[in-house]
C-alpha cells in the first residue's frame, strides 16, 4: 500500500493482495484513480492503524524540515504556562488569552518548541502582515505569505483564512503544525475543511474568547488547554482600565422614527415566533423576504438600527469626547461601515474598514502611531488582533450584544505602558435595545482562568 497527498486528501493505492482497505476507516473509493482517499487530517490516525495492524505502507508524505534557530524574546509567566499546557495536551488545543496579553509570542514559543514547519492562519489581511512581521523578527528564514496579493510558501507561512482555503489542497502536506489566530471563527469564517485538508497533527488555536465545547474548533484543533480573561491580567500584563457608559437621548423625531420602525418589526417578529417557536433569526429573515409585509418588517428593523447607529446626540457626545481627549490616540468603534464612513466624512478622520487596501491602511496606521492622525474609526477591522499599542481611549459608538466583540474591542486599548489607565466609553441610547445590549456584553469581562 502506498500513501500520497493529493488535493487535500491522502490517497492510498497499490493496495496489495490481503491488504483490506477496510482498515482505512471512512475511506472513499476514487474510481477514476483506482485508489482510496481519506481527508488529509486523518493521516496520523491512519498511520497508527496501519502500524497496529502490521500493514507495511510506503509513506510518501513528508512535511517540510525546519532548519534554523529561533531568536525568542523572554516569555511572561502565563505565556510559558500556556505553552507548557499545550505541549502536555500533545501539541493540540486552544490557548485563550485576552487581547494585548501577547498571543503572538505564545505562538512563536509553541512553534519553536514543536520544531516543525508551521502554517499560521489569520482572519484578515491586516493580521497577515502583522504576523509575518512578528515571525520575521524571531525566525531567521524567509516567511511565506498567502493572501493580499502574495503567494509565497515557506517552512513558516502565514495565510489569511480565505487563502488557506484555496491553498490547502496544494500545500496541506508541507506543515507539521497549524496555528489558527482568532480561533473562535473556526467552523464559520474559517471553514473546518481548511483543517481537514492539512496533514499536520499538531494544532494550536489562539483566541481571547473561546466558544463553548463541542463545536468545530474542538473537533479540528482541540479543547481549551489554558485560559485567562481580562480580569485575570489587569494590572499585570494588561493596563488598568475603566468603562464609562454615556447615556444618549434620541431627539423627538428620531424617537418617533425608532418607535414606529421598532413597532412594525416587533409585531411581525412576534407573529413569526408564534407561528414558528424557536426558529432562528436567519429563518425569520428568509421567510420575511418572501412577502410584502415581511420585507417591510425587515426594512423597519434596519431603519431602527440606523437610528441607533449614529443619532444626533451620539454626534455631539463623540465630538465632546474627542475634544476632551485631544491629542490622545483614540479608537472609535461603530455598528457598521456606513456609520464609520459617516464619522470619517464628518470629522475627516481615517476609517479602517475591509474596503481600505493594505498600503493605505499601513500608511494610516503609521500616522496613527506617529500621532499625526490620532483617531481611527472602524466597524469591525479594529475589533480583532490589530496591534495598536499606542491607543489609550476606545469610544464605542455602536455595536451588538456580543460579549466576544466587546472583549476584543476593549482589548485594543489594554496594551500596558507604565502609568497607563485606559478609558472605554460606551454610548448607549436610553430606552432602546442598545441599553440592554450594553448590560449583556459586559459579562465578557469576567474572570475565566483555566489551567489544567
Amino acid at each position: 500500500m502506498r500513501m500520497r497527498f493529493d488535493r487535500g486528501t491522502v490517497v492510498f493505492d497499490q493496495v496489495g493482495d490481503g491488504e483490506d482497505p477496510a482498515i482505512l476507516v471512512g475511506a472513499t473509493r476514487d474510481a477514476e484513480l483506482a485508489a482510496w482517499r481519506v481527508p488529509a487530517d486523518r493521516l496520523a490516525d491512519v498511520r497508527v492503524r496501519l502500524s497496529a495492524a502490521d500493514v507495511r505502507a510506503s509513506d510518501e508524505i513528508r512535511t517540510e524540515p525546519l532548519d534554523g534557530a529561533w531568536a525568542m524574546p523572554n516569555l511572561r509567566w502565563y505565556q510559558q504556562l500556556a505553552i507548557d499546557a499545550w505541549r502536555r495536551a500533545g501539541d493540540r488545543g486552544v490557548i485563550a488569552l485576552p487581547t494585548g496579553a501577547g498571543k503572538t509570542l505564545v505562538a512563536l514559543g509553541a512553534i519553536a518548541a514543536a520544531g516543525v514547519a508551521a502554517l499560521v492562519i489569520v482572519p484578515t489581511r491586516v493580521l497577515l502582515d502583522q504576523w509575518a512581521r512578528a515571525l520575521a523578527l524571531a525566525w531567521p528564514g524567509a516567511i511565506g505569505r498567502l493572501g493580499d496579493g502574495d503567494h509565497q510558501v515557506e517552512a513558516i507561512t502565514v495565510a489569511t483564512y480565505a487563502s488557506a482555503l484555496v491553498w490547502a489542497p496544494r500545500i496541506g502536506d508541507r506543515f507539521g503544525l497549524v496555528v489558527v489566530d482568532e480561533a473562535h471563527h473556526v467552523g464559520a469564517w474559517c471553514p473546518g475543511e481548511v483543517f481537514e485538508m492539512v496533514v499536520a497533527a499538531k494544532r494550536l488555536g489562539l483566541t481571547a474568547t473561546p466558544p463553548g465545547s463541542g463545536g468545530a474548533l474542538e473537533r479540528h484543533v482541540g479543547d481549551v488547554v489554558y485560559a485567562l480573561g481580562v480580569a485575570d491580567l489587569v494590572g499585570d500584563a494588561l493596563a488598568e482600565f475603566e468603562v464609562a457608559t454615556i447615556p444618549i437621548e434620541l431627539a423627538d423625531d428620531e424617537r418617533k422614527v425608532y418607535r414606529a420602525a421598532r413597532g412594525t418589526f416587533a409585531a411581525a417578529f412576534a407573529r413569526f415566533q408564534r407561528d414558528q417557536p424557536g426558529a432562528a433569526w436567519r429563518e425569520f429573515a428568509r421567510a420575511s423576504r418572501r412577502t410584502v409585509d415581511g420585507r417591510a418588517a425587515l426594512a423597519a428593523w434596519r431603519a431602527s438600527r440606523a437610528v441607533l447607529a449614529y443619532p444626533a446626540a451620539k454626534r455631539v457626545a463623540l465630538r465632546e469626547l474627542l475634544a476632551r481627549h485631544a491629542g490622545e490616540r483614540v479608537l472609535v468603534f461603530t455598528a457598521d461601515n456606513a456609520t464609520a464612513y459617516a464619522i470619517a466624512r464628518e470629522l475627516l478622520v481615517m476609517p479602517i474598514t475591509c474596503d481600505i487596501g493594505r498600503a493605505e491602511r499601513a500608511a494610516m496606521l503609521d500616522r496613527f502611531r506617529a500621532g499625526d492622525a490620532n483617531v481611527l474609526v472602524s466597524a469591525q477591522v479594529l475589533d480583532e488582533g490589530l496591534d495598536v499599542p499606542e491607543a489609550d481611549i476606545a469610544i464605542i459608538v455602536g455595536g451588538t450584544a456580543s460579549t466576544r466583540r466587546h472583549v476584543q474591542r476593549i482589548g485594543r486599548v489594554l496594551r500596558p505602558r507604565p502609568g497607563k489607565r485606559a478609558k472605554v466609553y460606551e454610548l448607549a441610547t436610553r430606552a432602546t435595545t442598545e441599553a440592554a445590549q450594553v448590560v449583556r456584553r459586559r459579562r465578557g469581562l469576567e474572570p475565566m482562568a483555566v489551567s489544567p
Binding site: R4, D6, R7, G8, T9, V11, D13, Q14, G26, T28, D30, A31, E32, L33, A34, A35, R37, V38, P39, E60, L165, V166, A168, P169, P191, E193, E196, M197, R286, R289, R290, V292, R295, L298, A299, R319, L322, A323, N337, A338, Y341, A344, R345, E346, L347, L348, V349, M350, T353, D355, I356, G357, E360, A363, M364, R367, D372, A373, N374, V375
Partner: protein, 352 residues
C-alpha cells in the same frame, strides 16, 4: 433552481431604473431602494451584483481617492470651520473645488462610491444573463458533486474541471456527453473549496449547445437546464494554461508543426478522452495526480479511440516506473522531449 427568463424582465427593468435614477449617488442608497423590488431574494441579489459588475468604476477612481484621503484625513476636525479650512487647503493644493474633493474621498469604496452609467442605462437582458451566471454559481457553490449532460463541445467543461483540481469522469452517450464531477475531498463530504471550483464552471456552460445539470448538495438536489439566458462564454485560460505554453514552445521548435490547442474530445467506446493538444496526427494530454492504474486506463482508452498519444506526467506526483506512452517531467515540460516522444515508436498507436 429557477433561472431568470423573459417574464422576469419587468422587475429587472424596475431594478435597473432604480440604479439609473440614483446616478451620482452612493451605491448604498440604490441598494436600500432595490430591497423594495418585489422579486425572489436570491434573484434580486444576483441582479444587484450583476448591475454592480456591469457598471464597474472602482478602479478608475482608486488612485485619486487614496491620494485625496491621505491628504484630507487626519486629526479630527471638530468644528465646521476647521473642517472647511482643511478641505479648502487640500482642494487648493490639488487644484479642485472643495465640493469635488469631498466627492472624491470615497469614490472607490464599494458601497460609498457614486453610481456611474458610462454606457447609459444597462439592458435588462444583459443584466438577466449575468445574474443567471451568478445564480448557477451559487447553486454549484453549495454542491457536493454534479452530474452534467452536455451537448456540443463538452471538452471546455471537462478541461476546466480538471484544471481546477476536480475529478471528472466523462461517458459518451448517443447524442451527448455525460460528465460526473466531484472534488477529491468532496468524495467524503460537501466542501466549500470544491464547491467554489464547481462554481467557476458556470460561465463556461454557454460554450455548450445544450446542457442539463443535476446538482447534489447533500441534503437536497436541484437541476438546471438550458435554454437559459447566459452571456457569451469567456475563454477559460486556466483550463489550457500549460497546454498553451507547450504549444507555443513546440511551435518555436518546429514552425511547420500542425498544432491544435484543446481539440475535440475523442470517443473511446462509451468513455471519452480529452487531449490537451493535437500535434499533427498525435495527441498530448497533460496529467496531474496519477496512479499506475489511472495511466494504464487512460492509455487503453486512447488506444480504443484509435489515437496515438503521449501522456505528459508530473513526476513529482508519483515515483513509479512510467508505462510506455507516458513522458515524465519535473518542473518544466520540455517541448523537444515531447516531440521526440511523439515521434518515437513507443508512442502508443492504435495497433499497439
Amino acid at each position: 433552481m429557477k433561472a431568470l427568463a423573459e417574464h422576469d424582465l419587468p422587475w429587472i427593468g424596475e431594478a435597473v431604473d432604480i440604479v439609473a435614477r440614483a446616478e451620482g449617488l452612493p451605491w448604498r442608497v440604490a441598494e436600500g431602494e432595490l430591497e423594495r423590488v418585489l422579486a425572489p431574494a436570491n434573484a434580486l441579489a444576483a441582479v444587484t451584483s450583476s448591475l454592480r459588475k456591469l457598471l464597474g468604476g472602482r478602479a478608475v477612481h482608486a488612485r485619486v481617492a487614496r491620494e485625496v484621503r491621505g491628504m484630507v484625513l487626519g486629526a479630527p476636525a471638530l468644528s465646521a470651520s476647521a473642517r472647511s479650512a482643511r478641505l479648502e487647503t487640500c482642494a487648493q493644493r490639488l487644484g479642485l473645488p472643495p465640493r469635488e474633493l469631498e466627492s472624491l474621498l470615497w469614490s472607490d469604496l464599494p458601497r460609498e462610491r457614486a453610481i456611474e452609467l458610462p454606457a447609459g442605462r444597462p439592458n435588462e437582458l444583459e443584466v438577466a444573463a449575468h445574474a443567471n451566471v451568478q445564480l448557477v454559481q451559487r447553486a454549484l457553490g453549495r454542491a457536493h458533486g454534479v452530474q452534467a449532460r452536455l451537448w456540443g463541445d463538452a471538452g471546455v467543461i471537462l478541461r476546466a474541471a480538471l484544471a481546477r483540481g476536480l475529478i471528472a469522469t466523462a461517458t459518451r452517450e448517443p447524442d451527448h456527453v455525460a460528465l460526473a464531477i466531484v472534488g477529491p475531498l468532496a468524495l467524503c463530504h460537501r466542501t466549500g473549496v470544491y464547491g467554489r471550483a464547481l462554481a467557476q464552471l458556470a460561465p463556461l456552460l454557454a460554450a455548450c449547445d445544450r446542457f442539463e445539470l443535476a446538482i447534489d448538495a447533500g441534503d437536497y438536489t436541484t437541476s438546471i437546464a438550458s435554454p437559459m439566458l447566459l452571456p457569451v462564454a469567456p475563454t477559460d485560460r486556466a483550463g489550457v494554461y500549460l497546454a498553451r505554453k507547450l504549444a507555443r514552445d513546440l511551435g518555436r521548435l518546429e514552425r511547420t508543426l500542425d498544432l491544435e490547442l484543446a481539440p475535440e474530445p475523442l470517443a473511446a467506446g462509451r468513455a471519452l478522452v480529452c487531449p490537451d493538444l493535437r500535434v499533427s496526427e498525435a495527441y498530448v494530454e497533460l496529467v496531474g495526480f496519477w496512479t499506475a492504474e489511472y495511466l494504464a486506463a487512460k492509455l487503453t482508452r486512447y488506444h480504443r479511440a484509435g489515437a496515438r498519444v503521449v501522456l505528459v506526467v508530473d513526476e513529482a506526483r508519483g515515483a513509479e516506473q512510467l508505462p510506455a506512452g507516458a513522458l515524465g517531467y519535473t518542473r518544466r515540460i520540455e517541448a523537444a522531449a515531447v516531440l521526440a516522444a511523439i515521434r518515437s515508436p513507443t508512442c502508443r498507436s492504435p495497433d499497439g
